[in-house]
């Protein structure tokens, strides 16, 4: 390779490179315009108001408070609890979704009849909106007349008293986590199914001929080939987990009881639209976005290196 041009040379070359790339920029233009208008500008706006005690009706009267919103947040036990809830949810639902999805994908990849039926059925939770799914689970876990308590108590005799799921700050996490897993498995399963179908059959046959049983084939042939997909899923599912919102908002009525069941985003909603603390709400959303960004970056860096081997 020839010697790399200096910074100045590269800067001077920019204008002509831009000119030559004008077609590319034309392709990019509509998308970029939308992106700047509806994502970049709002992000910048959000950042700005997070430094103020923001009056949403008369913005001019907003008072600059610097980092106060952020400081107040980090000291707030309710915020810390919300972070804990969100992290726990992510730590539980992501592995569960991935493992179950892998199992389902492997099963769906077999030569069976009714493939379309099974695929659509397993994908049903994915295409149902969060609102509807949350309502269903609220109904299922109703402490006095819900199906779950009926099963546990009257049919299986496992508990003596009806479990008051939504009345307990920790027990509430059970329907919420189950909901998350139930809703997400299909999505990952379909993606893994596609990836599985892309694995050349010859590789597996060769392994089988070499005497490898199904488990070893899974471990040494399938999983390594699935790694990029698994990494992708991990990153996306973690982002989804950290963005936990609607199910908690509806099921816990915004953090009930005692503000102990908040997720980071429901707390943001409460601060912004209930307590009219727009600056504080913006601070929360910034912290979350920053955290998600860092976590995703770390995951990609760490796991990508191993993929390239």
């Amino acid at each position: 390779m020839k010697a790399r041009p200096s910074l100045m040379e590269r800067c001077l070359a920019v204008p002509s490179r831009i000119y030559r790339a004008r077609t590319a920029y034309l392709f990019l233009l509509p998308g970029l315009v939308l992106f700047v208008l509806f994502l970049i500008y709002p992000m910048a706006y959000s950042l700005r108001i997070s430094f103020y005690d923001w009056n949403v009706i008369k913005p001019l009267k907003s008072e600059f408070v610097g980092l106060d919103n952020y400081k107040a947040l980090l000291a707030d036990p309710i915020f810390r609890r919300a972070v804990l809830n969100t992290l726990a949810y992510t730590a539980i639902t992501v592995p569960a979704q991935m493992i179950l999805a892998l199992a389902v994908a492997i099963l769906l990849d077999q030569r069976i009849r009714g493939k379309t039926f099974f695929r659509v059925a397993y994908y049903l939770p994915v295409i149902t909106s969060w609102v509807i799914v949350t309502l269903i689970f609220e109904y299922l876990f109703n402490s006095q007349a819900g199906l779950i308590n009926y099963l546990l108590r009257d049919l299986l005799g496992l508990v003596g008293e009806p479990i008051r799921w939504l009345a307990d700050p920790i027990l509430t996490m059970v329907p919420i986590n189950l909901l998350g897993i139930w809703k997400g498995v299909g999505w990952s399963a379909i993606i893994l199914l596609a990836a599985l179908q892309a694995i050349p059959a010859e590789l597996l046959e060769a392994a089988a001929i070499d005497g490898a049983d199904p488990w070893r084939r899974l471990q040494h042939v399938t999983l390594p080939l699935l790694r990029p997909t698994l990494v992708f899923l991990l990153v996306v599912l973690v982002i989804g987990g950290l963005n936990l919102y609607i199910s908690v908002l509806l099921m816990t009525n915004g953090g009930q009881p005692l503000d102990l069941t908040h997720s980071v985003l429901t707390l943001m909603y409460k601060e912004t639209f209930d307590r009219l603390n727009f600056g504080g709400g913006a601070a929360i959303s910034y912290l979350l976005t920053a955290f998600v960004f860092v976590v995703s970056l770390v995951q990609i860096r760490l796991l990508r290196q191993r993929v390239e081997q």
């Binding site: 392709f27 998308g31 706006y45 030569r111 397993y122 139930w182 997909t229 919102y245 979350l288």
Partner: protein, 280 residues
């Protein structure tokens, strides 16, 4: 894959057995929903709960659909979803093509910027987005809904399509270029037609997103006749009482189009995922 060429009936039984067990877990909540939608309110909380209603009644469906312009909301949702999907397909494929095939300064950083866009929780951006839509005079219009939905979908869909386009052999394009074709010709006449699976993927994801979206739809549209379906469903929850039967009836009606779209596109969809950037 597991079974390779042998097909012992034990293995078959195990596979079907497991699939059906999983199916039950997946499907029971829906059965519950259907069953409740067929019960009048007084049986909603009957104990012990019955999956099969003691008296099947369609009043919930009649009331839900006769209520408040339900079908109007349904059609609005359909219109918005179709427009959003079509626009997203066009714009994100243009973006993806630029990233996959064209070279320009700032390509990688720009792509990373788009990825960051996938990480922003949408609900946090509502107020500034409202300000922009209002400045563009699109408040209370279908366009106002669509334009934000498209913007929010771009990051993910561009990412998917980029991976897909990168999988198309370069020689095909070279052939067109040699014949004097511009990048636009390549894009429109070569890349897009070859990308059906990828486009099917984008279609399903975008349609789904637009169909179910609530927070933005709730503030961006004021005129009652222009509202979308999720709002209609939310309005069944009274301050004082939740009309479970009607909520579920409406939800089931709302589910049908998406199930249809998925069933129609799923084969392309799965093939599409196999060749999109989801593999890295």
């Amino acid at each position: 894959m597991f079974l390779s060429t042998e097909r012992s009936w034990v293995q078959q039984a195990v596979v079907y057995g497991l699939l059906i067990m999983g199916l039950v877990i997946v499907v029971v909540p829906f059965l519950l929903m259907i069953s409740t939608s067929l019960k009048p309110q007084q049986y909603t909380f009957e104990y012990p709960p019955r999956l099969i209603p003691s008296e099947v009644s369609f009043t919930n469906y009649v009331q839900a659909m006769g209520k408040d312009l339900f079908f109007r909301y349904f059609l609005n949702s359909l219109l918005v979803a179709v427009l959003t999907t079509a626009t997203t397909l066009l714009i994100s494929s243009m973006l993806a093509y630029a990233f996959a095939r064209l070279d320009f300064p700032g390509k990688e950083p720009l792509f990373y910027l788009f990825l960051v866009g996938m990480m922003i929780p949408p609900v946090t951006l509502i107020i500034p987005q409202f300000l922009v839509v209002k400045a563009l005079k699109l408040y209370d219009s279908y366009a106002g809904l669509v334009i934000v939905y498209v913007a929010m979908s771009l990051a993910m869909q561009t990412f998917l399509l980029r991976g897909f386009f990168e999988g198309i052999p370069g020689e095909l394009e070279d052939a067109v270029r040699i014949d004097g074709g511009s990048p636009w010709t390549i894009f429109w006449r070569l890349i897009l037609p070859l990308s059906r699976p990828g486009l099917a993927t984008v279609t399903i994801f975008t349609f789904l997103y637009s169909w179910d979206e609530f927070p933005w739809a709730h503030v961006a549209i004021k005129e009652t006749t222009r509202r979308t379906l999720p709002i209609a469903i939310a309005l069944f929850q009274n301050q004082h009482l939740t009309q479970w039967g009607q909520v579920f009836a409406a939800s089931i009606v709302a589910l049908l189009p998406v199930v249809l779209v998925f069933a129609l596109f799923q084969r392309h969809f799965i093939r599409g995922i196999a060749t999109t950037g989801m593999k890295g």
